[in-house]
Subunit: 396 residues, 2 copies
Amino acid sequence: MISFESANVGACLSPRQVLLGDGAAAQVSEVLGNWQVTDGRVLIVADKEVARLGLIEKVRDPLKANFDVACFDEIVGEPTLATAESLANFARQKPYSAVVGVGGGSALDMSKLAAALAVNTGKVTDYLGMTRFKETPLPLVAVPTTAGTGSEATAISMLSIEGKKAIVLSPQLVPLSAVLDPLLTVTLPPKVTAATGLDALSHALEAFMSIKANPYTDTQAIATISVIARWLKTAVEDGANLEARRAMIYAAYTGGLCLNAGVVLGHSVAYTISNRAHMPHGVSCAMALPYTIAFNLPAVSDRLSIAAAHVLGRSDVTGEDLALWVGDLITALGMPRSLQDIGLKESDLDAMAEECLNKYPRPTNPTPITRERLQVFYKKMYNGDVQGCIEAFRSL
Amino acid sequence: MISFESANVGACLSPRQVLLGDGAAAQVSEVLGNWQVTDGRVLIVADKEVARLGLIEKVRDPLKANFDVACFDEIVGEPTLATAESLANFARQKPYSAVVGVGGGSALDMSKLAAALAVNTGKVTDYLGMTRFKETPLPLVAVPTTAGTGSEATAISMLSIEGKKAIVLSPQLVPLSAVLDPLLTVTLPPKVTAATGLDALSHALEAFMSIKANPYTDTQAIATISVIARWLKTAVEDGANLEARRAMIYAAYTGGLCLNAGVVLGHSVAYTISNRAHMPHGVSCAMALPYTIAFNLPAVSDRLSIAAAHVLGRSDVTGEDLALWVGDLITALGMPRSLQDIGLKESDLDAMAEECLNKYPRPTNPTPITRERLQVFYKKMYNGDVQGCIEAFRSL
């Protein structure tokens, strides 16, 4: 049950329209027409890999009936400042009526920048952090081809500047419309399906623990975790299963809406992992998740029992069961479960704890993050010992 | 559990932003600032009753720091074409930067028209039905003071033309932001709390039965009915209970989002009732609801079992239990339960069935609506016999 105990004012953003269904990608013209964008030039910003797979055509060909279509399909994972700048130049060369992002989180994040920078002067770096664009960005339709990041639902655009994550954040970046076409995701390989699905799970569970959680994000989180618990394994094992693909692309979207509450400790830990061992963002987040649940159990045990009930379909369960379930899910999906598994050394742990504490503070976490607690966290994670982590934090 | 069996493409609209929390009404300036509306003149469109209660000040006074504020506070229940026309004239006299609706469903519906007509020429009647405005309506913030209609979440504006309901419907009418301040609802009398809360319950349950239901509307419907089942009675019995007020204003919003799936037979029947006996819309809808569930039970029994489980908090329940629960809730809230109770005569029933069939067709209803079935429906409703209605439709 959603809680209404808090008097806090929470502000949640979302697209104005979501379109969900098999073949929805063909309806981008109609979506734009709803907002009076009926002619002119449309800029598609797409993933290089998505272009290679021929998925862009599903969006582009129907658009050609009403629009001149230009395509910037050079986006790869973790886009750099150079990519963002060349995209901005491209978007400024001609007047566009709208931007359509097609791809995973990186392509969608870049499409947000394109929509904003096409009509605003200045450099990409002028807009880092929480920002307000002088001119309203162009209408933006986000068409995800993975089911995970939830970028189609958020105000966030991430890029990599000199190897470090940088962020552009503005309510104006939230796409006008998210078009969720499960048919675009049926060719996703099992590993990508698993990693991106775990990313969405992390969004939902971390947001559910956040001190900024509110009834709107709780509604999304409960939907997200229920759906992922039921469908993620099926989507990984049987990629052609359309019911599972529909479920996962929807859960990724609602997982993105959860980000209105922010994430917690798990994401900070994930950054300290990926700074040392290259792996998909969703995997590092998922690895940290059971320990994050253990860390926060004493503070939000009621909420975690609710989450557990939605995941496990029974009411006689607790946050401990939830932590163990996440750990088992990671194993079942063939993902590494401990820091040892990915080749980190025990001697790395202190530096990781220190980095987590200083570089990635997380004021949304319901339990204060101290050096002592982080040392326990990393030690247990090094050994893959979720149960031990639960017990340790019971008395800390 | 949300179903992903359908391949249909469903399009769902919502505000770009929702703000929920005690005192949120004071933050309309900040909300507008998020969308670059930072100065100029703001038009408040408000309920006459809300003005009398002094609730407008909660919105207007903080706005005055950044804007010139004009106020049109002449909206009463079931606004007429004359009201809409005089509002349109008012909105066109000066240039406005934004419109803010404050009140129940009628005031919010009229604020949508004001935002659109302020910048579009022509008569109100030029825009009846599904419409597209040439000029993008002004930014609109909807601040509900009742918890029921969900107008703050929808694309719909209703008005009364020569005693008949008319509708203006456009994606462009969906408010930019819904500001849900439970403090504005604490003075709502118990009867209004009950009637508006039942309206929200009808939205959720009817949408959940609709053939246009989709994962997005199912998520909203499950949240809405769970919250109303837990909190409506408390809000009616103890109006000062802030937890209950927070819950109900949130459920009304999610109930509005459910309308993306449309409503079903119950709303048609409700119109045939209110054409004969004057009563709040939420009450006539709620009266029809148990019989609508009975009517649709054979077609959507699985879905109704899911709804029952969320309402009753147990998994061993069915749509029959749900129908009986709704009937009992209406009685518990002191509402009339049968057509007899409200003074209709048995001799009215055939005409009502005929009117329902011809004037209010409902293609979204999962069971075909026939004359024979409607006659059974009205007969059982006349006698207040929910159980008998369930049994009758089992074999029809």
